[in-house]
């Protein structure tokens, strides 16, 4: 199977720090990948480069065989780690925007999920609670039939019930041929859904392995291994 993501020699430096250094990474389609690491390890930087929100200092990044640009943005469905929608718009306005821009967006699926959660599509986003906004954002992102879903900290800052809902939404709405990258440090909550994990440390890849291999070779859960690798 050809790689969905192909990264070679990726480095991202700021004035005084290097967020990513010489990262080489291949990810195939049809996997749920956990991008794990402590704060400041380079997870969000890597994600933003994949989404075209940051420019690498050096190296090449291909998604679905294309360099980052309009073609890759068509196939990536991105959930940032913060509220990113215009608060003055209604949910319906935002859905209409997604309908216009993303050919793979399924509005019926979005409205169905909103109805199940009893969220009024005509509500303005700024009137919603933080948790509800996050659910709306997730609904929009997961209502696309994208090749690559990139979810940056989708369960951080929400209560356990909402976490279950979010993970269920991810699992029940994704196409088995698509790849999902979930960035998080709440490993115990997501471990059960992951196929592979990538450990990032000091801007470099410390480990890239399947969850099954980790359990077989290390004889421990990903969460336990993470605690061991990143022990303070």
């Amino acid at each position: 199977m050809s790689n969905l993501i192909d990264i070679k020699g990726l480095t991202k430096s700021y004035e005084t720090t290097t967020a990513l250094f010489n990262v080489n990474l291949d990810i195939e389609g049809g996997h749920i990948v956990g991008l794990l690491g402590p704060n400041g390890s380079g997870k969000t930087t890597l994600i933003k480069i994949l989404c075209g929100l940051l420019h690498p200092s050096s190296g090449t990044v291909l998604v679905d065989g294309n360099p980052i640009g309009v073609a890759t943005k068509r196939v990536i469905s991105y959930l940032p780690d913060s509220t990113y929608l215009d608060g003055n718009q209604t949910i319906r306005d935002t859905i209409n925007l997604f309908i216009d821009f993303y050919e793979d967006f399924d509005p019926n699926r979005a409205y169905d999920m909103l109805q199940k959660l009893n969220i009024n599509p005509d509500a303005r986003l700024k009137t919603l609670s933080k948790g509800t906004k996050e659910k709306v954002q997730l609904i929009l992102v997961m209502s696309r039939r994208a090749k690559l879903y990139i979810l940056d900290e989708p369960i951080a800052g929400v209560d356990p019930a909402a976490r279950d809902y979010i993970l269920n939404t991810i699992i029940s709405n994704y196409d088995p041929e698509a790849t999902i990258i979930i960035s998080t440090h709440l490993i115990a909550d997501v471990e059960s859904v992951l196929d592979d994990v990538i450990f990032l440390q000091y801007g470099q890849i410390a480990l890239h392995a399947s969850v099954d291999d980790i359990r077989a070779k290390e004889g421990k859960s990903v969460d336990a291994l993470f605690r061991e690798v990143y022990k303070c």
Binding site: G52, Y84, D93, F101
Partner: protein, 274 residues
Amino acid sequence: MLGKLLKHEIIATWKIFVLLDVITILAGGVVGIFGYNFPDLDRVPEPLAVLLGLGFAGYFVLLVASGLLTLVFIVVRYYRNLYTAQGYLTFTLPATTTEILSSKIIVSFVAELLNFLSIGLSVGLVGLGFAALGMKEYPVDTIQVLEGFRELWFEIFGIDGIGTTCLYIAFMLISILYRIIIFFFAISLGQLWQQHKVLGSVIFYFVINAVLSVVHTLLNIGSGSFSLLFMTTYDTSSQFFERMVTTNTIISLIAVIGMYIGSILITDRKLNLD
């Protein structure tokens, strides 16, 4: 994609722009009606005269506020939409940077133009009210008055015929675009700073304005516009304005194109959304 971007930019902004423009025009209409029924100040009690003065001052404050609010809304929306968390959506849409920035510039330009016209219409309505009052008391030939205005415009600005009218309209349109794009370019340049990007944008705004003012002045001296001010022939005024407007239109057009390309290149090659 540009069409879709324009559509959603209009959906997100038209209510604010139309509201400001309608208020501006309505205020002009009210003051104009009032102007038509303006009382003789000699027979008005002093407190009422003060109130009238305040009312007119309030109207002019409203005109200034309408222009400022439109501009502030445009600039803040541009910044928020592109360079804050909202940029995560804007720059992950499958559109090129050129399309994204162009949609913002086009809608902002139209909004500024409509605001400019609404302020003009508002002032026109006030002027009409007072002119009608004047004509009620001192009847004059309207055609003769308009002809007088036309001659005055020709004498001062040299506006006579299609050519000069088009030149002045082009100057007005490019000036509006020029004013907006300086803000946008300054915001783009501010993004080159690793920290304090807003402060960087403000500093760049003043630097760009200062540099362009010097360029305008030097090229106007070079083109001989200013030297016309020291001549005393009968058509000096119209020649001065015509040459100055031509020079400034060309400089502004070049600056607009340069800043447009600069904004796209900076955003395209140096975008770093924190």
